[in-house]
Amino acid sequence: MSALLLARIQFAVTVGFHFLFPAMTLGTALIILISETIYLIKKDETFKKITDFLVRLLGLIFVMGAATGIVMEFSFGTNWSGYSRAVGDVFGPILAAEGVIAFFLESVFLGVLIFAREKVSPKVYWLSALLVFAGGHLSAFWIVVANSWMQTPAGYAINEAGRINLISFTDAVSNPSTNIRFYHTVIASWITGAVMAAGIAGYYVRKGLHGQTARTMLKISIILFAITPLLQLATGHIHAIEVINMQPEKAAAFEGHFSTAKGVPLYLVGFVDEQNEKTYGIYAPKGLSFLYDFDWNSEIKGLKDFPKENWPPVNFVFQVYHIMAGIGILLIALGLLGAYLLWTEKIYENKLYLFALPFMIPLPHIAHETGWISAEVGRQPWIIYKLMKTADAASVVVSAGEITFSLLMFFLIYLLLAVMFVKLFIKIVQEGPAA
């Protein structure tokens, strides 16, 4: 295998593993903030127990994210030095800003959340919960800025030496896809946290454990579970329109759409025959055109408008994108069902729904992973859309042998971390909140 392909696999494995944890972190931080806010106002011990329990889980989740996150920052230099040399002017300050503005805030105040319940006043403790939430979301903002700049670069110019120069940081930060990608990513994380908490609380309620604490936690998380996937439908819709406008070949690959046409269908499931440039499956006629601007006959650009060497792997992107979308729809249904059961107060006795809840925990993870894969693979062959190819970005001095070694090590270490994480996660859940 070539060094380039190995470097890409290593990045995919390490970032794919890493992202599981920040997604849980943001969602958990949200529920902690909600619960601690109610505790501050109502002084009801139930909410304190929920906070303390989730803080314990967050400690485990966060350390996994931090330990695997530092790998990502190093990897731009270790494996993508060609990229780093070219984009330091724009990409460097974004990463540095993430450190200064976000990481410090999150890490420093997480120490207070985990260790200082008894050492600080309730207000300072609440403030720490707020700052951990803010720090986490600011981290998400900056890394989404970094990614969005690679998708829809702005605020730069290329000088005589062929280097990318910063012209306007504000333009680079508010490039056309930052906002919507940020909302889409953050809400994906909230869904992840909501379903995780609902899964745990559902398990407790079904087993008759932790009484009122479990029921309250279930209530908070089910309300979030009902709202967030619906919000995600809206952000997903706006994001898709943005991609059609800004990265039409990626959008065309999402839908396996080859020839520019009016009244383009929307596939529910399907298969792309890349050789014959045909897509088969179950579709809603004119669906994509309608969703684009609520006109059944609007025109959508097809892949054939672009040179074939600049196409992403179409069927692969089609499939991962549809997995994401499918799970998104499923989560809307499951969340609304939960809300209905909560509204009618049947949820605490509905054994089937409670039984199913813990099994839903992986669903948002699969959705956010496949969502990222479609965004990233859909951008190929570019590392920076229409500016730099992935093939030109890799480190020239790092050999295939060296990457094979590191990839193998990452694989083994991350396997160990995954096993330990699941084991300790279950252990913390079994110990449960304070009585």
Binding site: G77, A96, G111, S395
Partner: protein, 336 residues
């Protein structure tokens, strides 16, 4: 064009500050990790040591993340060359930092496997503490570079005597940070052993520091006319010596500060000998990566200066606030 050189020089200083901050702060928790088997015996004593660093180690590691980000943003060629050129060494640093980090949490949650996680915490802390100095030693001593700023050596290039000496010097300084931090945060038997560790490590540090300064003086002849170098030597030796008195008077908080100040002296020597280089080329001085030939544009450097000069004071302020929350001796059961 406004004078970009001023900003390049400013960023040499700011990155130095970030790396010093990292070495002092993560230095003490890596040091505690590397010393843990030697100064603690019982499970409870290990709990105390873990709790002494538990709330703060992660914030300390952010200094490295930010330092790396700042290097990327100010001098991307230096970042790219060092990280890709020292590939396997960087991977070892990452593996060490991963194990150090997760071991703290896994040990706290996994009673049955605690002994294993203590070992991997020790191993991760020790390896990271050693490797940073070796990496720094290499960029200061010089590595072979080509005319595209790419590293042309291999893994064994990194293991030459002078860089290894830097590694050992940094390692002993980190151990002293850890021991003196333990003195500040512990009581009873643990405190006695930590004091003992400090008094041994002061001697060790005096020896490694003197060898380090002499090696620098003999390797880089020009340095003997640089006042900053002499200041650095004097500074480090003075602060190390004052630790003897603090130990004698059983002062529990000053050794940490004295150790930190002496560590800064080691860094100042690097600054004196290295400026304006970032990665010295051992094969041809003209191929060296300097602050002048590897920086980003004026616009980026200005922006970064605003972010750093507004952001870092805020960060330092709330970091001090949180350290004050955890002031005093660590206990064995503070968690949750």
């Amino acid at each position: 064009m406004e004078n970009i050189r001023n900003f390049q020089e400013l960023w040499f200083v700011l990155i130095l500050v970030l790396f010093i901050g990292y070495s002092l702060l993560d230095g003490f928790d890596l040091g505690v990790g590397a010393l843990m088997p030697f100064i603690s015996k019982t499970r409870q004593e290990k709990d105390i040591l873990m709790n002494s660093i538990g709330p703060v180690w992660d914030g300390n590691e952010v200094w490295l993340v930010t330092g790396g980000g700042a290097l990327f943003a100010a001098f991307p060629h230096a970042y790219a060359t060092a990280f890709s050129g020292f590939y396997l060494a960087m991977m070892l640093v990452l593996f060490a930092l991963i194990f150090r980090a997760v071991s703290i949490e896994f040990r706290a949650q996994d009673q049955a496997g605690a002994a294993i996680w203590e070992k991997s915490f020790f191993a991760g802390s020790t390896a990271a503490a050693l490797l940073f100095g070796v990496a720094l030693g290499n960029v200061v001593y010089g590595v072979p570079l080509d005319n595209k700023m790419e590293f042309t050596g291999n893994f064994f290039t990194l293991l030459r005597p002078v860089p290894l000496l830097f590694g050992i010097t940094g390692f002993t300084a980190i151990l002293l940070q850890g021991a003196s931090y333990a003195v500040m945060k512990t009581e009873g038997e643990l405190l006695k052993r930590s004091f003992r560790a400090v008094s041994i490590l002061v001697w060790v540090n005096l020896i490694t520091a003197i060898v380090y300064f002499l090696t620098i003086a003999f390797t880089f002849r020009d340095i003997t006319s640089n006042w900053l170098f002499y200041m650095a030597v004097l500074w480090t030796v003075l602060w190390l010596s004052s630790i003897f008195f603090s130990v004698k008077h059983k002062n529990e908080s000053s050794p940490f500060w004295e150790s930190s100040f002496s560590f800064i002296g080691l860094w100042l020597a690097v600054a004196a000998v290295h400026f304006p280089n970032l990665i010295k080329a051992s094969n041809d001085q003209n191929l060296s990566i300097t602050i002048y030939n590897s920086s980003t544009g004026l616009q980026t450097l200005k922006l970064m200066s605003v972010i750093a000069l507004i952001g870092m004071p805020v960060v330092i302020a709330y970091t001090i606030f949180v350290y004050r929350v955890f002031k005093g001796k660590a206990k064995s059961s503070e968690r949750y």
